[in-house]
């Protein structure tokens, strides 16, 4: 029995390491200084997919991302690690989408890809930290969901059932759910395996049409005739039959009214050294004021 697996991936600015150079002198975020990365928890999801593929030979992994043309980088990264094919959903009219419009768009893309047994994605993306797109896709496709997944313990393709260990507040839970379904995976799940050198050689020239410069088009057409797997499928809103009222900014119920940079009010602070006298002085002061004790 082989499985059809869909993995949701997102390219995100790396907000984890917002260093001094990532802030402008005015204290605003310098987005250009933040590298674009594979959303970390989506890599954990990819690893779960790769394990299923090992367990059920002949299974295929399709990776789907929505974003700018350059987000095809995450598709290549997934191909290097063992995914079989990729889809970039990119279109100007998809810009400004909130989680609901995003989940609608991705659910339309998944419908177009066709039959699947399981959809895996990271629990949340580090740019928004909302954890909403996975459950919303499940709802749009009429599927159930298992969020905060830690490990797939068992999958029975005949009975169409899956057993998953997941985190809950203050504990863990093991659940059994029917296939197909949506599973979102935690960052504490098994880390993704590294790139495979042979696959890097095989897929390094894989591109989505929007990534190709006019000069590359002819050479690429020639290469694709021999190696069709180097094409990363690119779809716009029309290709996935998206309802214009449900995509992009128009399809987003939430609006950003205001954005402000956080500036913490600096306090009057007392600076001291690590000398015995200074540390003891501080402890004595805190004890005398009953702050500690």
């Amino acid at each position: 029995m082989s499985l059809k697996i869909v993995v949701l991936a997102k390219q995100v600015p790396d907000t984890r390491n917002v260093g001094p150079d990532a802030m402008t002198p005015e204290g605003t975020v310098n987005r250009a200084a933040l590298p674009a990365v594979f959303n970390p928890e989506d890599l954990n999801a990819l690893e779960q997919a790769l394990r299923l593929k090992e367990q059920f030979p002949g299974s295929t992994i399709s990776v789907v991302t929505m974003g700018l043309p350059k987000s095809a980088e995450v598709i290549r990264e997934a191909l290097y690690r063992g995914a079989d094919e990729g889809y970039v959903i990119t279109d100007r009219c998809l810009g400004g989408a909130d989680t609901l419009a995003t989940s609608y768009t991705l659910s339309q893309a998944i419908r177009k890809i066709g039959a699947f047994d399981i959809i895996l994605g990271g629990r949340q993306a580090i740019d928004g930290d909302t954890a909403q797109v996975g459950p919303q896709i499940a709802e749009k496709l009429g599927l159930t969901q298992v969020t905060y997944a830690e490990e797939i313990l068992k999958l029975d393709p005949v009975a169409k059932k899956i057993v998953i260990k997941r985190h809950i507040d203050g504990g863990v839970e093991t659940v059994e759910a029917p296939l197909p379904l949506v599973v979102t995976v935690n960052g504490s799940a098994a880390p993704c395996r590294p790139r495979n050198a042979k696959r890097v050689m095989k897929y390094k020239n894989a591109t989505a049409p929007a990534e190709r410069t006019p000069e590359q088009v002819d050479a690429m057409a020639e290469m694709l005739a021999k190696k069709p797997y180097l094409n990363i499928t690119q779809w716009g809103a029309a290709e996935i039959d998206a309802d214009p009222a449900q995509i992009g900014k128009t399809g987003s119920p939430t609006n950003v009214k205001a954005v402000k940079n956080i500036v913490f009010k600096a306090k009057e602070s007392r600076t001291m050294t690590d000398s015995d006298a200074d540390v003891e002085g501080l402890i004595v002061e805190l004890l005398e004021s009953n702050t500690i004790g």
Partner: protein, 346 residues
Amino acid sequence: MNNVFVYCEIEGNTVADVSLELLTKGRKLANTLGVQLECICAGYNLGDVEKQVMPYGVDKVHIFDAEGLFPYTSNPHTALVVNLFKEEQPQICLMGATVIGRDLGPRVSSSLHSGLTADCTQLEIGDFEMNVKNAEGEMVKKQYTQQLYQIRPAFGGNIVATIVNPEHRPQMATVREGVMKKEILDANYKGEVVKHDVAKYVPETEYVVKVLDRHIEKAKHNLKGASIIVSGGYGMGSREGFDMLFELAKELHAEVGASRAAVDAGFADHDRQIGQTGVTVRPKVYIACGISGQIQHIAGMQDAGIIISINNDPNAPINTIADYVINGTVEEVVPKMIKYYKKNSK
């Protein structure tokens, strides 16, 4: 109709603190709007669960009590919330930004096509105007009054965004535990109790996920209620590095917290994380050891009474909000603090 709703999270038959905090906030929002506060309690063998929520000023408690509603699974709870909301048409719905709230909220919002804002740190009512397209397709200014401002940090906590959803109801938001304050309004507050026929709201076909096994551990610490917190960052260097923080915490009767960087590096357990994506704390004293002070961390501890920063980088951002800055390595300073505390405390 058009009231404020809170989805109450229930473990066994105990309502979670985060839900009681949201009822407190919900009561205030309802007062501002001049509407009622209602809540949903769904589970199994709930007993007189209404007694736990009523003192927070709940005007109507919707009870769904049936086998299969506990432990929580996504589909049945989504069905009952969605079907109840179709009847009741709430204008605001609040949920905890917990595993359950973050599983349920998005499904409900998708089903009702309403906007949902995750992990809000402030909720306010206000007016604004926005450019919208009129029937002729021209952009015109439209006024909106008494809308829910959903205020949340974004972009790793480096900016704060105010989100509104003017054209869709309910306006949905999740809030983390500890962000809002829980306050009893009136111990004798009397609201209405409605016990719903669960089968009318949840078709049998929705019970698709089976919980085979479940372990809830009692929290190993009480970070939220601690009056002193000793917290470590990436600068602690290792899990072993945290040992001295536990030692200092033991002396001070304090709890040990950690920054996201320290947790991500595996130096401390996830449940000790303080910050926007962890616990929000308001201790009397906060001792930050080797924490640089990314905004996402500061967001979760800036309301501490006294902040002491120990850092060998004099320019660490956390120093700007600290009351005391000790320039030095944690390896030097923390043992000295233990030593001089022992010497001077009695």
